[in-house]
């Protein structure tokens, strides 16, 4: 028997594709638009969301039976805000340059609908282990889209990946730039993130017709 049961694996794997929080549930779109101009920001945001959503789901699950229903949203918001502050402080202490580069992006995790959505829809009704898996699965599903969008936006917008020049030098006209290629500045603007997400949704639904709604 493996480490994870079939149901546990489903909790992790479903949000990666057929129940993806961004492309299927259409949640977390705002941060997907805001932070994906660079691949590095997408990766760090993914790691941070895995921490916040995984641990947040466990905390909410552990206290789910003692949370007063009248203030449950405030309690959930407090948990997510606290975890985000901890992530921010830890990054400032142990990865200062990275924390500066991400700046407001880390704070944006608080506004991510996926987190409150999973607290409300899953952690309030399930045990800590399942909630943890659900949190990690959904954060990974969110992160995969962020990384794909970040990859294309940075590559086509800046000609770099993780800051490394992969298409050549635009100033000295080497690599692709030598044959007339120019970076597409539109890729760095938020609307292009929406278009890339739209293309991913189109590709996903073309490959799996069951995802197409009537």
């Amino acid at each position: 028997m493996g480490l994870l049961s079939k149901k546990d694996r489903k909790l992790i794997l479903d949000p990666l594709a057929d129940d993806n929080p961004i492309t299927i549930q259409v949640l977390g779109i705002c941060s997907a638009l805001a932070i994906t101009a660079q691949l590095k920001a997408s990766i760090v945001m993914t790691i941070s969301v895995i921490f916040v959503l995984g641990l947040g789901n466990v905390v909410i699950s552990l206290i789910r039976n003692i949370i007063p229903s009248k203030i449950r949203i405030i309690v959930q918001l407090t948990v997510v805000a606290s975890l985000v502050i901890i992530v921010d402080q830890v990054l400032k202490a142990f990865s200062y340059q990275l924390s500066k580069e991400l700046g407001a992006f880390i704070g944006l995790i608080i506004t991510n609908c996926i987190i409150m959505g999973r607290f409300e829809a899953f952690a309030l009704g399930n045990g800590p282990w399942k909630s943890f898996l659900d949190g990690v699965g959904n954060a990974l599903g969110y992160g995969i889209i962020l990384i794909i969008v970040g990859f294309f936006r940075e590559l086509l917008g800046s000609g770099t990946l993780l800051g490394f020049k992969v298409l050549g030098d635009p100033i000295n006209k080497t690599g692709l730039y030598a044959i007339g290629y120019e970076n597409n500045g539109f890729m760095l603007l938020a609307p292009m993130a929406l278009i890339v997400v739209g293309i991913i949704i189109w590709v996903q639904r073309t490959r799996n017709k069951a995802l197409i709604e009537d």
Binding site: Q89, R153, G185
Partner: protein, 249 residues
Amino acid sequence: MSNKTDSNVYTLLFAIGMVVVVGALLAFVAQTLKPTIDENKRIEKQQNILYAMGVNENDESSAIFIADKVVGAEFKKYITKQLVITNKTNVEEDAQAYLIDVKKEQAQAKEGKERRLPLFVGEKDGKTYYVAPIRGKGLWDAVWGYVAMNEKMVVQGAYFDHKGETAGLGANIKERYFMDDFIGEHLLDASGNFAGIAISKSNGDPLNKDKTDNEVDAIAGATITGDGVAAMIKSELKLYVPYFKTLKN
């Protein structure tokens, strides 16, 4: 049957308990990490000052600071004096001048109080550098930096940073292709009056060969951030002009 968690008293007690627990947890985390964060900020200031005067690990195109481990020793080696200027030309030495918070000093000046202007004097390869910290507003939040000058207020190096400018656009003020453009630019005009450096979209000099036009080429799609940098240079470095005039004399 009503649930006990639905009662108002329980809800109130839960809320109070949650605030106490969360507050204590966050206070503990903040207090535990504060010394490390403060140390990071202190190291960063030294790295910024050294970067502006050309003490860095830059490769062909990337802006890279000297390593955290050596920055203290390098700072002592290259920065020969730390000055605090008050009342335009009154100069005092202060070994902790690099810790002066420019934002707080700007706020003091707005309240009509005297503002302290830190200036770092560095020696490298027989040349003297005067490095001044600057701070202003970008599109979304603060922008700041350090400008190294010679005694004629000709820029010898610059480092810019920001709190939250748009990645790929305004955030590019901390890219080398932008910062390096400032090297050699004159802050004074032909008559010797302070002119600053404009971030221009139409200067007709994208390779920045003319160093006396008081202009550098703008970043596409970052007009407001660029204007913020130009305004910051103009308003902040102007304050140092009386001191630099004393150097010429």
